[in-house]
């Protein structure tokens, strides 16, 4: 273990070291243009291939140098052609120090010293040594020997000292031997300098330094200059590094603890930058290397640890928050009473069966870890009615229904049912997973519109899928409450937080989409703002309305919307909102916008938080308001309703006047002396009967007036047909750009028929629209209206091209959607008239035109 630790630490230390050296090299290279001191060495590069560099040339060269009074002369490596005699001769004449790789062979020469030649291992060399022990004898290295010669003492640096490369490759003057021999030397270059004659022998290969590749002679010149200038690069001691790192860790952690999260990265980045600046300055001005690599690694390590810890902390907080939310959400929908009892499924089965007029219904759920379905609830059938072969949900018809993604009309028998029943299978899908299936049958001759049935079925299926999903979750929870041993036996473990959160997110997404659908399904155009007036949601209707008048919902605040729609001033709009927020009320403002049709009202209301726990003394505080709802309410519909009711009351007045006539006349007659007693009694009876009749009529009208005419459940009530007819004529004229005359003769009779205004308009539209399309240009459409006691009869006839009667009849008897929109509308109109208890008749003859007659129940008291 300890070996592993030592190796690991060594490797780690090596990583630190390598990084520090790399930083050091980069810093040195970056300092190459910084000139901090004057050179004290002249390097003369001696090319040994130079033909004339014989011993005599060497002597000439030395003489050339010597005459300019150098401080000392050194030859980095003993020239190969020098004999011991030549050495003696040169040494006697010049203050010469000569380097050799084997100084021990020249022990009798005091000036022959060791010239350290590094191995050719590709490393980057930054240091030079001072001594070398050969055969137990200590030899000075050339650079140290020259230093001692000049200063008459050894330098005090470390045995291995760092060469100062600051100033770059151009810092030291370099002259070639050829130029020197040719008299190219000048006194300024040589005087008081140490001249190093650097031999470029094949042995002296180039080597890697912080400044890049350089000849060994250059490397020695830098080492010599460093010693002579006494600007050796000092490296921080280990204890200094430890102290600095400890201090740095302490300061940084303190800073991180005290500084807000968002500034931490900035502070650490500041530390790193400061370290770089201080280190570089220290190197440049004080020749002191702070082992910056170690400091940077420490800082980066702290940064990484910090990020990791912060990330982990955030992750834990997020996870905890998400799990808490998931648990809270679950508690909302996992109502034990609902899932533990069978009663609710009975209600659901009954409800769908009755609402959709189904014959048989069966709800099936998927069996976990199996491919069969299981019955949840069935009405008028059971799982036994499904053959064993057809209970595998990985086969047809289940797979086909899943592929279709909606209600599948089955071609082959699935449930055992009578031949006059049509069967459907609906996949129950929640959050992308199939929870089960719903199979049902309806009577083949059912009057239900298939498209409407499928729409309703799919809406129910969505709700039932969600219930099934929660039921499955509830069952899963029940199983999770089993003993640990059982769980282990069944290899069931706790679900991961991911699964739990994913489940909650799926649920919330689903709920959100339901909320979207709800908002879009609202009768009114609605836009929801948060308390600060920012848009939270816009329903489709509002979005379309605003787009139509060139307003972009999401770019407007609540105040902007009020201003744009109501024409109020900014101040008024703000006052409205203040009132809403503080008084928790609602405001209705008439819409005044040129782009919108009149009759709209903008209703602005504050949505209050229903959690009463925070309410103190019944007062509303601003933050209990969760949003502001703006709705555009189409008052024209309400106006229409009131108009219809007004018409009924108007007619009532007519009937009342009629009845009062009888009463008044009977009273007058009863007072006439010519009338016999018997007659008088009859007249009194008439008065009584009429009064009773009037009271009854009043009650009837009162009931009708109180009816909700806007409700879709109220399919018919007394409607004045005149307005619907006139509107339809105008609309059809606009749609069909033809010169056709329509002048309906409205009789003096009651104009109230049992219908619904909007639908009645659609009926007139359908009939008149087709007649105009078919009519000859410039012709007239005859409209005759006749009032029977019980029915109002309408006859529309044109002079046009016509179509074959058979074809027209086939359109009106079709059970499927027609390609022609006009005939489809006519078909729907005929069904609508049937539903109102009227009759529809259509005739057509080629070359003559078309004729449509229909009757509607007249409203009579």
């Amino acid at each position: 273990m300890s070996i592993v630790t030592v190796i690991s630490l060594s490797m780690l230390f090596e990583v630190f070291n390598r990084f520090d050296r790399w930083i050091y090299d980069e810093a040195t290279l970056a300092a190459q243009f910084f000139d901090s001191h004057s050179p004290r060495v002249l390097l003369i590069e001696v090319d040994t291939d130079y033909e004339g560099l014989s011993v005599n040339n060497w002597i000439s060269l030395l003489e050339q140098i010597h005459k300019y009074n150098p401080r000392a002369i050194a030859i980095n490596i003993l020239p190969w052609n020098w004999s011991r005699k030549d050495i003696n001769l040169a040494s006697d004449r010049f203050p010469l120090t000569i380097g050799s790789t084997h100084p021990e062979l020249y022990a009798d020469f005091k000036n022959i010293v060791f010239s350290a030649i590094p191995p050719l291992d590709g490393k980057v060399y930054r240091q030079q040594r001072r001594h070398k022990f050969i055969n137990g004898k200590k030899h000075s290295v050339l650079e140290s020997a020259v230093y001692r010669q000049i200063y008459a003492e050894d330098n005090a640096y470390d045995e291995n000292f760092y060469i100062n490369f600051i100033g770059g490759p151009g810092r030291l003057p370099v002259v070639s031997s050829k130029r020197a021999l040719e008299g190219g030397l000048v006194e300024a270059l040589v005087k008081d300098k140490v001249v190093l004659l650097g031999v470029k022998a094949p042995l002296m290969m180039n080597m890697q330094s912080p400044l890049g590749m350089m000849a060994y002679a250059n490397y020695q010149a830098y080492a010599l200059d460093t010693l002579l200038n006494q600007n050796v690069i000092q490296i921080a001691d280990l204890w200094v590094i430890i102290l600095l790192v400890t201090l740095l860790v302490f300061v940084m952690l303190l800073a991180v603890l005290k500084i807000p999260d968002r500034y931490q990265l900035l502070v650490i980045s500041g530390f790193i930058l400061s370290t770089l600046v201080v280190s570089y300055s220290s190197l440049l001005f004080f020749q002191y290397w702070m082992m910056t690599g170690y400091l940077l690694i420490t800082e980066f390590s702290i940064l990484i640890v910090l990020l990791f810890l912060r990330n982990r902390q955030n992750h834990q907080a997020l996870q905890s928050m998400a799990l808490n939310s998931a648990a809270r959400i679950e508690s909302h929908w996992l109502s034990e009473s609902f899932y533990s009892s069978d009663v609710h499924w009975n209600h659901i089965a009954n409800m769908v069966t009755q609402t959709l007029s189904l014959e048989r219904t069966i709800f099936l759920e998927r069996v976990e870890n199996d491919h069969r379905v299981r019955e949840i609830k069935a009405l008028n059938c059971s799982l036994e009615d499904v053959s064993e072969m057809r209970r595998d949900y990985q086969r047809t018809p289940y797979t086909t229904a899943i592929e279709q993604g909606g209600a599948l009309k089955l071609k082959h028998t699935y449930l055992e049912a009578s031949d006059d029943e049509v069967q459907y299978l609906v996949p129950l899908n929640f959050a992308g997973n199939i929870q089960g299936f719903w199979a049902f049958t309806i009577k083949r001759d059912s009057q239900l519109d298939e498209n409407k049935l499928i729409d309703a079925v799919e809406q129910f299926a969505t709700q039932i899928s969600e219930l099934l999903y929660h039921r499955a979750e509830w069952e899963k929870n029940q199983q999770n409450q089993q003993s640990l041993v059982v769980k282990l036996m069944q290899m069931k473990f706790e679900e991961s937080s991911y699964e739990s959160i994913n489940r909650s997110i799926n649920f919330l997404t689903h709920r959100l989409s339901v909320m979207d659908t709800l908002m879009d399904g609202l009768e009114t155009s609605a836009i929801l703002y948060d308390l600060f007036g920012r848009v939270v949601h816009v329903n489709k209707s509002m979005s379309h309305m605003l787009t139509d008048i060139n307003l972009i919902p999401y770019s407007m605040s609540a105040v902007d919307l009020i201003v744009k729609l109501s024409g109020s001033s900014m101040i008024e709009a703000r006052n409205y909102l203040s009132y809403l927020i503080l008084e928790q009320g609602f405001i209705n403002v008439p819409v005044k916008n040129d782009g919108m049709k009149s009759g709209y009202m903008l209703m602005i209301s504050a949505l209050k938080n229903t959690d009463d726990t925070d309410v103190t003394d019944g007062e509303i505080q601003p933050f209990e308001i969760t949003g502001i709802l703006c709705e555009l309410i189409d008052m024209s519909q309400i106006r229409e309703v009131y108009s219809q009711k007004e018409k009924i009351v108007e007619h009532m007045s007519g009937w009342l006047r009629n009845d009062l006539s009888s009463i008044l006349m009977a009273c007058d007659l009863s007072q006439d002396k010519r009338v016999s007693v018997d007659k008088r009694n009859q007249l009194l009876q008439i008065i009584k009967n009429k009064v009773t009749e009037v009271c009854k009529n009043f009650e009837q009208v009162n009931t009708i007036v109180q009816q909700d005419m806007t409700s879709k459940l109220t399919s018919q009530y007394p409607v004045d047909y005149i307005e619907s007819l006139q509107e339809a004529i105008i609309e059809c004229h606009k749609t069909h750009n033809k010169s056709i005359t329509i002048n309906p003769a409205i009789p003096f009779s009651s104009t109230l028929v049992m219908a619904a205004p909007k639908e009645l308009r659609q009926v007139f539209n359908a009939v008149i629209g087709i007649l105009i399309s078919d009519a000859l240009e410039g012709s007239e459409i005859e409209v005759k209206i006749k009032c029977d006691v019980k029915y109002m009869e309408f006859e529309f006839k044109n002079h046009g091209f016509g179509i074959p009667q058979d074809q027209l009849q086939s359109y009106l008897e079709s059970h499927e959607s027609l390609d022609s929109n006009e005939f489809q509308s006519l078909l729907l109109a005929s069904h609508q008239i049937d539903n109102w208890g009227g009759q529809f008749e259509a005739n057509s003859e080629i070359g003559e035109g078309m004729r449509f007659c229909f009757s509607l129940k007249a409203f009579q008291l």
Binding site: R657, N658, S661, A666, D668, L669
Partner: protein, 126 residues
């Protein structure tokens, strides 16, 4: 004026009011015929119009309304027969419309016996 010679036709869809109006007229010595809608009234006029002196005509009726009957009468016999239109409509526009269509008088419902008789006598004495 020999009242028994005067012939009044009542066209009114409300059976009680029709009977009561007939009673009033008969008590005053008029000869009265009555019909429940305009169609039946016209059928009668086609054969017996010459004998009719005055028509009490309800405006709002099923099958064929009073407006149609008035138009028919004025097309057929110009102004030889007096026509009193009885209506529950109280607006002046309807009254103007009826008078311009040829009605001699428009009486608004509820009917007052005295006003009715005064109107009948005034028209028959013209």
């Amino acid at each position: 004026m020999n009242k028994s010679q005067k012939h009044i036709v009542i066209i009114e869809d409300d059976p009680v009011l029709r009977e009561l109006t007939q009673m009033v007229c008969v008590m005053e010595g008029f000869e009265v015929d009555m019909f429940e809608d305009g169609e039946k009234g016209i059928e009668y006029f086609e054969k017996n119009l010459a004998s009719v002196d005055l028509v009490l005509l309800d405006l709002f009726m099923p099958v064929l309304d009073g407006g149609h009957v008035l138009n028919w009468l004025r097309k057929t016999c110009q102004s030889s027969v007096s026509v009193v239109v009885m209506t529950a409509m109280v607006d002046e526009e309807t009254e103007r419309h009826m008078l311009s269509a040829g009605a001699n008088k428009v009486i608004k419902k509820p009917l007052d016996m005295k006003i009715l008789l005064t109107t009948i006598q005034a028209l028959l004495n013209k």
